[in-house]
């Protein structure tokens, strides 16, 4: 039933656009890209308290995306739930018709807006993939049988520019072994580094959604000062291209760049699809689409 799954299987180069669940209950803004772009987008990524900042629940948001006519790709982190909550949220997602999942460890609580919260991490992302697989096989993690097994299309994250690469490679292999159907990368700006990763690390047949990000002016400035501490890098040429102009101009240039990168990734067959982070804004996603020529 998952369009994302079908598109990846058919080599259709699907596009996933991330929406932003609100801090509050006004959901119209979050749903704008869904209503605005539905025909051109395969699925909508729904973050789970992204950067450990508390927002409307990803499960509820995924369902709202669905009701608005979009197909959700729900993110689920290990940060805020023990294994009972993870499993019951997985069952809940299945019951609500949310099939696409992206399973992650989750940014640490100190980085968010509730730094005093208790971090959970009862499972890690590899074990969470296993939990989901177990549920699909009709059992919970304690071995109890389920009444009706869920169907999922399971995604995991991989970091192409990880330094050092060895430990990341180990985790990548474990995620494949645990049953990840596809992978979403960390944001890609440096095509050369990504190309090397794709050739040397990713086995044939593994489906990769390349994450492209529309950077804010603030992020570009930080990168220009060499202060951006992220798992991805902005090469000097990209910084130069994006720098200058007011914040809106920087975003527009970022969307154009992401579009160009998407076109290149597709033509070189470096990825099987794209996961776009464009501040949850329909206009930026539309600008991306135009630049990409999809």
């Amino acid at each position: 039933m998952s369009k994302l799954k079908d598109a990846l299987a058919a080599g259709g180069f699907p596009l996933v656009v991330e929406v932003k669940p609100p801090k509050g209950v006004e959901v119209a803004g979050m749903l704008a890209p869904v209503t605005g772009l539905n025909g051109q987008v395969t699925a909508f990524g729904v973050p789970d308290n992204e950067h450990a900042r508390m927002r409307l629940s990803a499960l509820a948001a995924a369902r709202l995306v669905q009701e608005a006519g979009g197909e959700p790709l729900m993110l689920l982190t290990c940060r805020d739930r023990n294994r009972l909550a993870l499993e019951s949220d997985l069952l809940g997602a299945a019951a609500l018709g949310v099939e696409n999942l992206l399973l992650l460890s989750g940014d640490y609580v100190h980085q968010g807006d509730h730094p005093d919260a208790k971090p959970v991490y009862d499972a890690d992302s590899v074990q969470l993939l296993q939990l989901a697989r177990e549920l699909m096989a009709g059992r919970d993690s304690a071995g109890n049988p389920l009444k009706g097994a869920p169907t999922f299309f399971l995604g995991a994250v991989v970091i192409p520019e990880a330094q050092p690469l060895g430990p990341q490679r180990l985790k990548f292999r474990k995620k494949m072994e645990a049953g990840a159907d596809f992978f979403v990368t960390a944001p890609i700006f440096d095509l050369d580094r990504y190309r090397a990763f794709r050739r040397e690390v990713v086995p044939d047949g593994v489906k990769i959604l390349a994450c492209l990000k529309v950077s804010s002016a603030e992020e570009v400035e930080k990168a220009a000062r060499g202060e951006l501490r992220k798992v991805y890098t902005l090469p000097p040429a990209v910084i130069q291209e994006l720098s200058g102009g007011d914040p809106e101009e920087v975003l527009a240039k970022g969307a154009a760049l992401a579009g160009r990168l998407a076109r290149q990734l597709r033509s070189e067959k470096l990825a099987d699809g794209v996961y776009l982070k464009a501040k949850g804004r329909a206009d930026l996603a539309a600008a991306f689409l135009q630049a990409a020529g999809f």
Binding site: C78, R79, R83, L104, S105, D107, Y108, H110, Q111, P119, Y121, D122, A123, D124, S125, V126, Q127, Q130, S141, V157, V158, I159, A162, Q163, P164, G166, P167, Q168, L170, K171, R173, K174, E177, A178, A186, R229, K230, V231
Partner: protein, 226 residues
């Protein structure tokens, strides 16, 4: 050993403000080594409290005594007599010692002077770092002597999270990523194969709270209580 830090003076001062004669009981083991609650620190706390009380014009006697360990009944039992003349007791032990003392001196208020922080090591004089979360299931044999439960901020069992930047932790750029260190050490020892298999979910059921351990040789003596 157990590492602790002294509470802010004001907090201690306010806890014992309603009491005249107060006995400060030190602990001569872990917290003495980490300069938080040994004989010396009892002396300093007593001196500080005396000065502060003098400033506030509050009367009362401050007694000082330090025992070998507050987590052993044989060492604290004599304190019953020592505490008789005091209205309240401050313990500079870890949380375990404070509780053992409070259980012994049932009728008397017992106050903690420390915040117990972790099980750790003495890096150098005055410098202590955490090493163990006492999780009931030690993985050190397969993780090259580096604990993923303690040294990885997220306690991940199957490799680094996606937040590692240049071998450093997502949370603290000063701290090495535990999983990068595990990988490096095992690689240097030719033991990487050990972490290839996926580790299952951690058995938190063992961490029943509060925990009890009975040495196998003493089962006959204590098993009846279980």
């Amino acid at each position: 050993m157990i590492i602790a830090e002294r509470k802010p003076f004001k907090e201690i001062q306010e806890m014992v403000a309603p009491y005249g004669n107060v006995l400060i009981v030190g602990c001569g083991t872990c917290v003495a080594v980490c300069l938080a609650g040994g004989e010396k620190e009892v002396g300093l706390l007593a001196a500080q409290l005396k000065l502060a009380r003098n400033l506030a014009g509050q009367a009362g006697r401050l007694g000082e005594i330090t025992v070998e360990r507050q987590c052993d009944r044989e060492f604290i039992e004599p304190l019953q007599e020592s505490a008789a003349d005091y209205e309240a007791v401050i313990s500079t032990a870890c949380g375990a010692g404070v509780q053992f003392l409070a259980a012994l001196l049932k009728e008397k208020p017992v106050f903690p002077a420390l915040n117990t922080t972790f099980i750790g090591v003495n890096e150098a004089a005055g410098h202590y770092t955490e090493r163990c979360r006492s999780c009931h299931q030690c993985y050190l044999g397969i993780t090259g002597g580096i604990c993923p439960v303690t040294m990885c901020t997220k306690g991940l069992l199957n490799g680094p999270c996606g937040g590692t930047v240049a071998g450093k932790c997502e949370v603290d750029p000063e701290r090495p990523c535990a999983w990068c260190e595990i990988y490096e050490r095992l690689e240097s020892q030719g033991r990487l194969g050990q972490i290839e298999a996926i580790l299952p979910l951690h058995p938190h059921s063992r961490t029943t709270s509060p925990g009890t351990v009975i040495h196998p040789a003493y089962l006959r003596r204590y098993a009846a209580h279980e």
